[in-house]
Amino acid sequence: MSFLSIENATKSFGGLKAVNDVSFTVEQGEIVGLLGPNGSGKTTLLNLVSGALPATSGRIALEGHALTGKRPDLIARAGVARTFQLVRILPSLTLEENVMIPAVFGTVAHWGAAAEAVAREALETVGLTDAGRRAGDLTYIDQKRLELARALAAEPRLLLLDEWLAGLNPTELAEGIALIRSLRETGITIVMVEHILEAVRALCPRCVVMNSGTLIADGATEKVLSDPHVIAAYLGEVEDA
């Protein structure tokens, strides 16, 4: 049995199939890159896994337990945490409170000093200090850090990153890559949507590629990135090639 299995996942918005019959599995401890051009359905697929959107059909399961049809809070409690493509922080709460939330309401349900300890550890992992600040005052990169810290404080078994490295400058990008790599040592399983190929090559031994809602490639990163179908998806079909 696979750790995460996605079987024939489909999501339709009216006549548009944003995710069309996608199937693949992820083993425990893997870091898988989810690639594809804009609008190919990557974020929608993450939304189906995290429960932000209900699937039209298909089955998604974590260690054999169905996630499809469950509310997002129950999926979170099952050990799935995520970041969002457009950063979502809680602006009126402090950094510590932001990060504490999934520790308080998640799988383990810490409270008081235990929750604060989890929050501080997660903040330390992503390199944020001054935990009493309001989250609304943070810079963009720090908001991204905060979001990752929040996901980590959930002590998740499956982490979904939606373009977490996008919008960073080269120095920050190098830090971000090192940070995610350090997570791998903890045994966490990661599915990451990413456009920055440098990061994908550095972090993901395996990639899954989507185009127009369907899965077009799944395999070792270098092989997938040189696949003519994948190149065509990114650059457009070359006529009579």
């Binding site: 997002p72 809070d73 979170a76 945490a81 995520r82 809680l90 308080v104 309401f105």
Partner: protein, 303 residues
């Protein structure tokens, strides 16, 4: 220090009727009623930012419950019934509306108050054949004052407890971002329903306790939408997400309205309108938050 202040303050307030005239006591009842309403309203709306205009739907229901049952049941049972009816109504309304967000929720709650009023009017005219009802209870003004004071203290105490409890944290997260709340393991529907029901039950009880003051009630009296608007503006003035915010807004505004309605009975609604606009413009986050940011700015300037 502030933690120990409420107890002697409450004792002092409880002893107040010994010195007050009838007029003074009536004024205090009104003031404590609005403190209770604003605090109960803020219990749900303060953190979640779901602006409810259904206050008078519950407040009026409480009063009407007493009007219907006051001759059939002993007073404590009447109160119990009012609380039960308020809670049941809140559960039904909550289950059907808390999925609505923003302005849709505001409009729904406003519609609810009108709906309840029209339903009762229809029922009274067509089924019982009378529109008005009398409340004859041997509850004194002092009795009403003490009960309302108790309910107000209970509301603020409950709010303080919620603020320190997981429920309070969950409500704050919901107010900031419901998607994040759900993805952090918070059960949105249950959290909102608990807070909404607590708030609505208290508001219903406040209506029940205050009702003997009216003696004669009919739907247009007890379901006056101004009550809902006043409650909102009082809570906003003080700061709806602070423990003492609603109280701080309710006391001065109630006194101001009382003065205006006595001295300028004809132009009073105009002042009311101006005040609504003024509060929203001047203190969008409440006076307490305003004072805090002012102090913060002064400190930064000094540093």
């Amino acid at each position: 220090m502030t933690r120990f202040l409420p107890a002697p303050a409450l004792a002092l307030l409880a002893a107040l009727p010994l010195w007050l005239s009838d007029y003074g006591l009536g004024l205090m009842i009104g003031m404590v009623t609005y403190v209770t309403l604003a605090s109960a309203w803020a219990l749900f709306s303060g953190h979640t930012r779901y602006v409810s205009l259904a206050t008078v739907a519950f407040y009026g229901t409480g009063a009407y419950t007493v009007a219907v049952l006051n001759e059939a049941l002993p007073y404590p049972l009447v109160l119990l019934c009012a609380g039960g009816i308020g809670a049941a109504m809140a559960l039904v309304v909550g289950l059907s509306t808390l999925r609505l967000a923003g302005v849709y929720f505001v409009i729904f709650t406003f519609g609810l108050a009108e709906l309840v009023r029209q339903l009762i009017t229809w029922y009274e005219v067509n089924v019982t054949g009378t529109l008005g009802r009398y409340i004859f209870l041997d509850v004194t003004a002092k009795g009403i004052y003490w009960q309302m004071l108790g309910l107000g203290a209970l509301t603020i105490g409950l709010t303080a407890w919620i603020h320190r409890h997981r429920l309070g944290l969950a409500l704050r997260v919901i107010g900031d971002d419901e998607v994040v709340a759900a993805h952090s393991g918070i059960n949105l529907a249950r959290t909102k329903l608990i807070a909404f029901t607590l708030s609505a039950t208290i508001i219903t009880l406040a209506g029940a306790i205050a009702s003997p003051r009216w003696v004669y009630v009919e739907p247009s009296i007890v379901f006056n939408p101004t009550v809902s608007f006043l409650t909102v503006i009082m809570a906003l003035l003080g700061g709806a997400n602070r423990l003492w915010g609603p109280l701080l807004g309710a006391v001065p505004l109630f006194l101001l309205f009382e003065w205006l309605s006595v001295d300028f009975p004809d132009t009073y609604p105009i002042f009311l309108g101006l005040l609504f606009i003024g509060v929203v413009f001047a203190f969008p986050n409440g006076v307490l938050a305003g004072v805090e940011s002012l102090r913060h700015r002064l400190k930064e300037r000094r540093a």
